[in-house]
């Protein structure tokens, strides 16, 4: 994307809804709760919103959210490309705002999948039996997404000698961050041994290598940089952002499952932002599975290919570690209502505003958010700055 759009928009409000186990509230009600709070931060109201971006497992999500909030927008986008979707929405909002199609974009997500019990088998809604997935994947009882990332972990261990302990380091670091975040769902102490003793789900991934299943919602308010400077909150500018895609749920044509297009996506975001990975103060990487963090660290270039196991050893990712990341506690311990992209952004914005109390990264000026979608099907990288 053109460098001219770098810092053309800002995130002016962020909020999560009630999070964890939230019986008695619908996904839409959680999104509304977050939307009110995010707009309140910015000093804006629902009347100011003229664009709605939303994705849930339902179709027509943006219309559902707009109707519920009483908004009659002139721009909507219900793009659903998995857990990365809300970051993609920011990129799309950037274009819409730059071209004058809207001025105040509300981006939301919400789910009640813990209360619904809809993810008990670790499986997402199945496609029709005539689709590629229906014909060539589903008959074999493959768990998705867990099975795919288990296969990635198996490959990583085979090629590089990565161990279950390396994976467990990621889970323990996430929990140590969650202990510093009052909003996190799972805050009790844990250990490498405890993670490695949790039940196997799909070898080599164990239960505690997998993100939580929670209820929860989130909202972001995106406006032009100029408008953001007149609002109540401290603007956080989108300095670089990119998205790329490889496949849907059937990655038969992906040559190397340990080279999933992250590097090119991240480079495009760095180029747009005019910064390098070494400049990053805050790093938020989608942690759906522990192996996903190892893989992303390598493909993002924070360590060499095959060296992520050594890179994360001895609590490197945890508070006080050599490379602290995922400061909210992440999908592994803060919460994971099915799609986590929006929560990466919420935490990055709060870090850049200096609002994170005991888990604050000192003098945070630049943050990176990286998320894949579906089963290494797409990637988005965003650089935020103040």
């Amino acid at each position: 994307m053109s460098q001219s759009l770098s810092r053309s928009i800002a995130i002016a409000g962020v909020a999560e809804s009630d999070l964890g186990k939230v019986p008695g509230k619908s996904a839409l009600e959680l999104q509304a709760q977050a939307a009110h709070a995010a707009l309140g931060e910015a000093g804006l109201s629902l009347k100011d919103v003229d664009a709605v971006f939303a994705h849930t497992d339902d179709r027509f999500s943006s219309l559902q959210v707009a109707e519920y909030l009483g908004i009659t927008p002139r721009y909507v986008d219900s793009t659903n490309v998995g857990g990365m979707s809300n970051i993609v929405h920011i990129r799309h909002a950037m274009n819409a705002i730059a071209s004058g199609m809207c001025s105040v974009a509300l981006i939301t997500y919400g789910s009640t999948q813990l209360s619904d019990g809809s993810r008990k088998s670790g499986a997402v809604a199945a496609d029709s039996p005539s689709t590629a997935r229906g014909q060539f994947i589903l008959p074999y009882g493959h768990l998705s997404p867990i099975g795919y990332y288990a296969m990635v972990a198996q490959l990583h261990m085979h090629r590089y000698g990565t161990t279950p302990k390396d994976l467990a380091e990621v889970a323990v670091a996430a929990r140590r961050w969650a202990q510093l975040n009052p909003k996190a769902y799972r805050r009790e102490p844990t250990s490498i041994d405890e993670v490695m003793a949790s039940p196997l789900m799909a070898d080599p991934l164990r239960q505690r290598d997998c993100c939580l299943v929670t209820d929860g919602g989130g909202a972001l308010v995106v406006v032009s940089a100029e408008r953001a400077r007149a609002l109540r909150s401290k603007p956080v500018y989108v300095q670089g952002i990119a998205e790329t895609y490889a496949h849907h749920y059937t990655p038969f044509n992906t040559d190397d499952w340990l080279d999933t297009g992250v590097a090119a996506t991240a480079q495009a975001a760095f180029d747009m932002a005019g910064v390098t990975r070494e400049d990053m103060d805050v790093v938020q990487i989608y942690d759906h599975f522990t192996i996903g963090v190892l893989q992303s660290l390598e493909e993002l270039g924070f360590c060499k290919r095959g060296e992520s196991g050594a890179f994360v050893a001895d609590g490197a990712l945890a508070p006080g570690g050599r490379f602290p990341i995922n400061t909210s506690g992440g999908g592994l311990s803060y919460g994971h209502p099915g799609m986590f992209g929006i929560f990466l952004v919420i935490e990055a914005v709060r870090q850049l505003r200096g609002e994170c109390g005991g888990r604050q990264i000192a003098d945070a000026q630049l943050a990176l958010c990286h998320a894949p979608g579906l089963v290494f099907s797409g990637n988005t990288t965003m650089i935020l700055g103040v």
């Binding site: 229906g134 009882g141 990635v152 080599p204």
Partner: protein, 136 residues
């Protein structure tokens, strides 16, 4: 085999029917592009690499290696629960195709990446067989 448990089964389309018809007769076929020599999976009406619509069906060797795999300790559906634990693998065939299958007739502890495997057909009913793989 009759079972009370519903197993997700493929519903062929006109374009994929030759793959499933061959499997029902114990043959493994993939699409081959005469223009760019690409072996293609899954079936489409054109070559996804070069765009040619001259794509043809060709018999596959049935030989491959495990590209990567997992052992499921949780089942994706009620039918597969009766088979726990079971192996799901991405098999890379000698044609260069990546395809998914269960690794059957195998000691699950003996599976490894790079393990040579060979196709075997699991008969579901008169009209349908699933290509599976077993140690070669």
């Amino acid at each position: 085999m009759m079972t009370n448990l519903q197993r997700p089964l493929p519903q062929p389309t006109d374009i994929t029917q030759p793959y499933w018809s061959a499997a029902a007769k114990g043959q493994l076929v993939y699409q081959h592009c005469p223009d760019c020599q690409h072996w293609q999976f899954y079936p489409r009406a054109f070559c996804v690499r070069c765009g040619s619509d001259a794509i043809q069906w060709g018999e596959a060797s049935g030989e491959g290696v495990i590209y990567t795999f997992t052992i499921n300790r949780r089942a994706a559906n009620a039918f597969m629960k009766t088979r726990l634990p079971y192996a799901v693998a991405m098999v890379q065939t000698s044609e260069g195709v990546k395809t998914m299958a269960n690794i059957v007739n195998a000691d699950l502890d003996s599976l490894y990446i790079g393990m040579p495997v060979r196709v075997v057909f699991e008969q579901i009913n008169d009209d349908l067989a699933l290509p599976q793989f077993q140690p070669a």
